[in-house]
């Protein structure tokens, strides 16, 4: 009930207890992940055997820390490369598509707009297998026709980038269009009157105005790419990004090195998320 309406005291306390319990529930899994990154034990489990930094800096098996674990470092590098390309492609297409839908009228605009939103409602696994089917058939056909090899169309990082881009571009478009819609076009007209070329006006007036949205979209795209699992799982080849590498280890059971990676991921994504949120506030 709202504060303006009197409530029995017991009910108010019960209510507060519920809300508090909810936030404990939200925090609990992340807290245990972080805490066990510092436990001097081969397993992420109680009892507490004392504090250690081995899961970060240890260099001797089985006490191998993140910073010395080649598998993890390699996977991290792959994830970063994928995130970079996905983010660059999504933001570029996001900008052009935002201009298209906000500034132009053309036939089938509504149909295309709905089609552009569809990736949001396609389950990630399905998006992954559909692209897998398409590219495999294309590769088979091309190889039959030309006798050459088309490894880029076989499961691997190119497909992972394409698969993630297919739905992350929608988010980038929505974020950038939202800001473009608020842009006052008379500013651009003023630039044109002062002798700017149309492209110059867009570059010097509109794009700087869009900058917070573009940076925000880039950060969100990177975060989504880094954390994506479903689409990546279906398209991945022999080079595993971090989520896939961690998933494999989780299934087999692993040392708390996983907790250490997770802790670093939580920190990194909090910073990214915080910056993205601050950018949104600033708008």
């Amino acid at each position: 009930m709202i504060p303006g309406i009197p409530q029995p005291r017991a009910l108010r306390w019960l209510w507060r207890a519920y809300v508090a319990a909810f936030f404990v529930y939200l925090a609990l899994p992340l807290v245990v992940v972080c805490v066990f990154a510092f436990n001097k034990s081969q397993f992420a489990a109680l009892p507490w055997n004392g504090f250690t930094l081995d899961w970060f800096i240890g260099d001797q098996r089985p006490w191998l820390g993140v910073f010395n674990d080649r598998g993890i470092l390699e996977a991290l590098k792959i994830s970063a490369i994928v995130a970079f390309w996905v983010s660059a492609a999504s933001v570029s297409v996001g900008v052009t598509t935002a201009f298209l839908f906000v500034r132009h009228d053309f036939r089938f605009k509504q149909t295309l707009y709905v089609l552009m939103l569809l990736p949001l409602v396609i389950p990630g696994i399905i998006l992954g297998i559909s692209i897998l089917v398409e590219t495999s058939y294309l590769a088979n056909w091309l190889e039959d026709a030309t006798g050459l090899w088309f490894d880029g169309l076989r499961p691997g990082l190119t497909l992972v980038v394409l698969g993630q881009f297919a739905f992350i571009a929608t988010f980038a478009t929505l974020v950038i269009s939202a800001r473009l819609e608020k842009f006052d076009r008379s500013l651009e007209e003023a630039a044109l009157n002062l002798g700017a070329t149309p492209l110059g006006a867009v570059r010097q007036v509109t794009l700087p105005y869009l900058a917070p949205a573009i940076v925000g979209a880039a950060l969100v795209s990177m975060l989504m790419s880094f954390e994506n699992f479903n689409t990546t799982l279906m398209l991945v080849g022999s080079d595993a990004p971090l989520t896939i590498e961690m998933f494999d280890r989780m299934k087999q059971g692993s040392t708390p090195v996983l907790n250490a990676v997770s802790l670093l991921l939580i920190l990194a994504s909090s910073v990214l998320g915080g910056v993205a949120l601050a950018l949104r506030r600033a708008r």
Partner: protein, 288 residues
Amino acid sequence: MSRPAGRLTLILLLAPLLLWLTLLIVIPHAAMLFVSLRERVGVGEYAFGLGNYLTFLAEPLYWNTFVRTAWMSVLATALTLLIGFPVAWHIAKIARGRARQALFLACLAPFWASELVRTYGWMILLRESGVFSAVLQWAGLAEGPVEMLYNDVAIMVGLVYTSMLFMVVPLVTTLDSLDDSLIEAAYDLGASGWTILREIVIPHARPGIASGCIVVFMMSLGNYLTPILLGGKSSLWFTGLIYDQFITRFNWEQGAAFGFLLLGLSSAIVWAGLRLSGQSLRSAMARP
């Protein structure tokens, strides 16, 4: 701007969008539909037909898993709504000023961590050597280690946890726009808390409830990580079957048919949810 220049701009802006949508959305799904309609009749021989879909109906394991996945997703959606609604109410209507901002942030922050990390946290809590088991033994409530992982409750806990944000945020947004004076007026006229909830709050919050439910249902249905990691081998989740057909058994024809069934169910629910709440796809999908 002269006409030809405007036309050129339009074409240049359309090109990336069209390439993206045709090459990565339309053609892949058409290809998947095509493959799902191919039946293997012999070695390297195929015929067109609904055979893969008939196999789905003929094999109880397949359609049971399908129904089970759908049903558990409905349950997860309902639980997420029930658990999240009071919290959304608290943030929108009771908390004030900085406390409100802090609570909202506390709701968002856990979801910046990836689903994998969150699920790993639940594994550490629930498994046989896990935190809950140790605490129960320490408190004398259990004799030996208790395995809480690899069952339906564990899957449900994970699904509800992982979808919570997508329920709470749209709820807070719609509840926020509800005028407090309406509630006070109803109270002054003698309405009970239950009546106010039914007659004023829920009708007002309907768009938020609908978009929260649509997103949570869709995410649960298409989830792979949580059921596999928390439910183990016996999770019987439909996405697991799709993965098996594609990657383990290399039966793409059957896998593509399963994929289409899942896509069909997911789309039908989204469509029905939008129709029932009178919303457009865009407004329902406006995420945090």
